[in-house]
């Protein structure tokens, strides 16, 4: 029994869930700031250039004032990666309770908008929690005795879509779907470009949706898929998205997509399901690793898509 790791306390999990949630609302991640800065520098259209400057200014002011960087604070959600050896005081039920409590408390303290309502009655509990709210998604990693807690505040209305393509549609079908998606949602800035586009390709329909959201929210801008063919597709789609010319907020400009991330899953031999999610200008994410020693490590890279998570074989 000497190898059994110390349990991570539920209080610590609450504190980290609270802090990541708060940071996600206020602090634009470094890769986002760098990408907005580069887009601002190279933008040739005056109005788009002006708005990109305002986006950078807004990011600064949000931190100075400790106020949410966007007035629509989206739907706070968590991605949790559990090291296989991690133990939690009170188990995963205690972890989920801590995460839900943190969302309710941050909503009040940081003044998030209470966006979560009953879908029919529209009743609003006022704290961004409710039935299946907040979303909590899990993945696992061999060997680790830690827990990664990733808070994401994702917008909710525009930019996400699904389509069942067929194998013969191939890359042209993928490109057509991307163009249709940009034409529908980047137009007039409905999805608040510049966006990070996540593409879920293959799998089952629900996997394609899930992967597209994770691809949009949980990879650093500039990161490329380890499969060279997928990486090449990412580059091609990024160019295509920007060739549309919608630009920041659809006012016309050089940068519509800061990046395109594609995740693949093995799929039915007869189909090519595809989903797209757009992570908007309100690029909101915060990542921390909690160790059994009580140490907490905040970092920029979510490291969600590990080789194990994307594994192909049985092991």
């Amino acid at each position: 029994m000497s190898t059994t790791s110390t349990a991570i306390s539920r209080e610590l999990i609450y504190q980290v869930a609270y802090e990541t949630n708060k940071r996600a609302a206020i602090v634009v991640p470094q890769d986002g700031l760098a990408a907005f800065g580069e887009a601002w520098e190279r933008e040739s259209k005056p109005l788009a250039h002006f708005i990109l400057g305002q986006i950078l200014e807004n990011a600064k002011l949000a931190v100075v004032d400790a106020r949410p960087m966007c007035g629509d604070t989206g739907l706070p959600r968590y991605y949790v990666k559990l090291g296989n050896e991690a133990r939690i005081d009170g188990g995963v039920v205690a972890l989920e309770r801590a995460l839900r409590q943190a969302v309710a408390d941050v909503t009040q303290d940081i003044q998030l908008r209470s966006n979560r309502v009953h879908p029919l009655t529209r009743r609003n509990p006022g704290n961004n929690t409710g039935v299946f709210a907040p979303n909590i998604d899990y993945s696992f990693e061999p060997g680790g005795d830690w827990i990664d807690i990733i808070a994401v505040h994702k917008g909710g209305l525009f930019g996400t879509d699904y389509r069942m393509l067929f194998p013969a549609d191939g890359t042209d079908g993928i490109k057509r779907f991307l163009l249709d998606n940009m034409a529908e949602f980047a137009r007039r800035g409905l999805s608040c470009p510049p966006v990070v586009v996540g593409v879920g390709l293959g799998g089952t329909k629900d996997q394609a949706m899930t992967l597209s959201k994770e691809a949009a929210c949980l990879r650093l801008i500039g990161d490329r898929h380890p499969d060279p063919e997928v990486a090449a597709l990412e580059e091609e789609l990024r160019r295509l998205a920007n060739q549309t010319g919608f630009g920041v907020m659809g006012v016309g400009g050089d940068t519509t997509a800061l990046d395109v991330h594609v995740e693949i899953a093995y799929t039915h031999t007869g189909g090519l399901p595809i989903a797209i999610s757009q992570f908007c200008t309100a690029y909101r994410r915060s990542v921390a690793r909690v160790f059994p020693s009580g140490e907490v490590e905040f970092r920029e890279d979510p490291q969600w898509f590990t080789p194990y998570y994307r594994r192909e074989g049985i092991e």
Binding site: P46, L47, F50, I51, Q54, I55, N58, A59, L61, A62, D65, R67, P68, M69, C70, G71, D72, T73, I110, Q111, R113, S114, N115, R122, R123, N124, G126, G155, L157, F158, R163, L165, F166, D169, D172, G173, K175, R176, L179, D180, A183, E184, R187, R188, G189, L190, C192, L240, Q243, T244, G245, F246, V248, M249, G250, V251, G252, C280, T281, A282
Partner: protein, 224 residues
């Protein structure tokens, strides 16, 4: 910071007609004075269901935001706002004739605006403009402009995210003039240009194996 070729206007609410008439699609605007919020909940409750507003909105101002702020009740009856952003306005076009006619609204502040047809048929008639916030990334800048929450109404009836908020704002902006009093839409003009290059991107892509629902819409459709 330079705004490039756009003209900038500093306006005081309630807005006066000769100032509104100067605004052209593509101009930038900063608003100061009283404003109120109205989106799905308020439109339904006040316009469709015919409930009288709890205060004299018409007497307060003629500027309405399609928004609900990131704000909370810090103590009973006392509200604070941290951050502000408008929501996509195209879905509220049906309410505009009544809002402009009955409540005398002269500027609707939303996100991304409405169709040019609505400006031609409704806004022009009332000498009103449609302004848009510049993206979901400027919530802190817009939130800073709120100097005071004057009141929050219909919280119990509509929930806090749909309630009617009244604010005193100071230089709320930059906002873009999307629809002007002549019925011009900034985005319609921009999209005419974009559509010319967009069709070229589709050229050479093979036809879908199966034409399915959702592909019936032409990509060049200006707004859904």
């Amino acid at each position: 910071m330079s705004q490039g070729q756009s003209r900038e206007w500093e306006l005081t609410c309630p807005l006066v007609s000769d100032e509104i008439e100067k605004l052209a699609a593509g101009d930038l605007v900063y608003l100061s004075g009283p404003v109120y919020t109205a989106r799905d909940g308020v439109y339904q409750h006040m316009l469709f269901d015919g409930n009288e507003p709890p205060i004299d909105l018409r007497g307060l101002t003629n500027v309405s935001l399609q928004s609900s702020p990131a704000g909370v009740e810090v103590s009973p009856g006392e509200f604070e706002v941290a951050s502000l952003q408008a929501t996509a306005g195209f879905r509220y076009a049906q309410y505009m004739p009544q809002l402009l006619e009955q409540f005398g609204v002269k500027a609707v502040v939303g996100k991304a605006g409405m169709s040019e047809q609505v400006y031609q048929e409704v806004f022009r008639k009332h000498g009103a403009v449609c302004l848009t916030t510049l993206g979901y990334g400027l919530g802190a800048i817009y939130g800073r402009a709120i100097k005071k929450v004057l009141g929050v109404y219909w919280v119990k009836e509509l929930g806090i995210s749909e309630a009617l908020w009244t604010f005193e704002v100071d230089r709320l902006g930059p906002l873009l003039v999307e629809g002007d009093v002549h019925g011009n839409s900034f985005f319609t003009q921009v999209n005419d240009d974009i559509n010319r290059q967009l069709s070229a991107l589709y050229d050479g892509l093979k036809a879908p194996v199966y034409g399915r629902i959702g592909e019936e819409q032409k990509p060049e459709t200006e707004l859904f």
